[in-house]
Assembly symmetry: C2
Homo-oligomer: 306 residues x 2
Amino acid sequence: VGAWGEARLIESLRRCLGSASLPSPRGIGDDCAVLTGPAPTLVTVDPLVFGRHFDATLSPSDAGAKLLKRNLSDIAAMGGRPSSAVVALVLSPDVRVSWLERFYRGLGAAARRYHVKIVGGDIAQASLAGPNARIAGFFSASLTLLGTAPSGCVVTRDGARIGDRLYVTGELGRSFQTGHHFRFEPRLREGEWLARRPEVRALMDVSDGIGKDVRALVPPRALPALWEERLPRRAPATTIQALSDGEDYELLFAVSAAAETDRFEKAFRAAFPRVRLSQIGEMVAKGKMPKGALPEQALQGYEHFR
Amino acid sequence: VGAWGEARLIESLRRCLGSASLPSPRGIGDDCAVLTGPAPTLVTVDPLVFGRHFDATLSPSDAGAKLLKRNLSDIAAMGGRPSSAVVALVLSPDVRVSWLERFYRGLGAAARRYHVKIVGGDIAQASLAGPNARIAGFFSASLTLLGTAPSGCVVTRDGARIGDRLYVTGELGRSFQTGHHFRFEPRLREGEWLARRPEVRALMDVSDGIGKDVRALVPPRALPALWEERLPRRAPATTIQALSDGEDYELLFAVSAAAETDRFEKAFRAAFPRVRLSQIGEMVAKGKMPKGALPEQALQGYEHFR
């Protein structure tokens, strides 16, 4: 899979599932899937792999908290409220029990803080192909998080239209260098608030870098026009870092051009006085990219398997 | 973790979660967790690791189907009906796209057959600790399966009492040698039927060998008295194999001693004429083990991380 991009791979796997896959948001393609039923249920899954999403510089309890918070960010990105989670561990036998217990204490503390119940899980031993395939130093945890939509409706990625203003919360870039990648607060309250605002048409979280993630909000025959100087950077992040580093866990959303953006911004700031809010650009028709906006080629982010 | 038994490890991790963990069946400890809400929701997670749960002798599409069926067996073990699933993949970049596509085709075909929608997932790259930690030939998939309880109630593991008769469906042992480990039919219809019978007091699926799994049904101050000659074996399985091989994916359940077992057995056989049903023993008070029953030490199964 190393030679394929992530988007192509996911699209191919979706096709392989045939009618066992539903169109987004009831299936693959958004921050969470929305299960219809008596009340809409949100479901999302995100893994944490040692050596990839964290390393030995991170305490096990911070790693455990990060596993949950990554998933909380996906629930926030639909305007949801988290409820229950299950955890699947795959690890090599040399992983120390004391390390694993500290990981679970961190997970448990974060779960209590965000009112999530860890209701089940499974532990399996890691293994490699081949006759002498002993494996050591392997740890991966996948957490599946369920949630509800307190406002009764969810905000998906696909509601943006040409002319919509693009906003982002917080700051971007240098997440790993600064520790933001595990210290961040998932934007649950902000997501729930945004989901109740009729002028918010599309919402997602920024996890692979805004340069890549913004493409998921772009409607047909449109392009995102982003202003470099308006990108909120985690100092001293460069433009490239702000666009591409990933693990920002901020909310990116589109606000209707018909809305009074001044009023919207004032309301947001009144609700969240300590959260930076930046209007970073807008959706424009293809071929109408304004002069000075970041060129399409600059919109890159973290590519898995590259 | 290699030196600890699975039960001790899980109990320790449960404690680490503190009040983020609920008592079973609302939390860790049964085949599925039961989420309370407008309707009870079942949730379970089970992984499939290359080199552990399957190897290169299994076709990728059979492996994909097995990933789902393992989880279906857990839903069956609560008397539930499956609905939606998410899949978390962790793999090394050398895994071939064509292999992964066939895995997903098998998963998709099984999902359609059992009316499950695959609604989301995530793919992460496998990684090891250390500077030269390149990893190859690694594939693990964890599937989280959601379900409902069509009878309105679920059958947990903890309802058995002293005197209850113990039953098992199908045959036991030699699952890997015979291909049963991927060809099995999850006992969904049987589980749903059993959940509606008032005389069925406890229900679980047999995945680590009945010798180990039966312990989960034993109430305080009781022991399971199993008759060796009544164990339904997948010929030519030995007693040890029938007790300990694991991956049987059959249903084990306790029927009230007050019930007319003849009538119960007749009703089961009328509903499932092609499914073998065996009364293999009963729950007895500690110290009252009947002569000729399998001794407690014989009740062993597959121990993870041993």
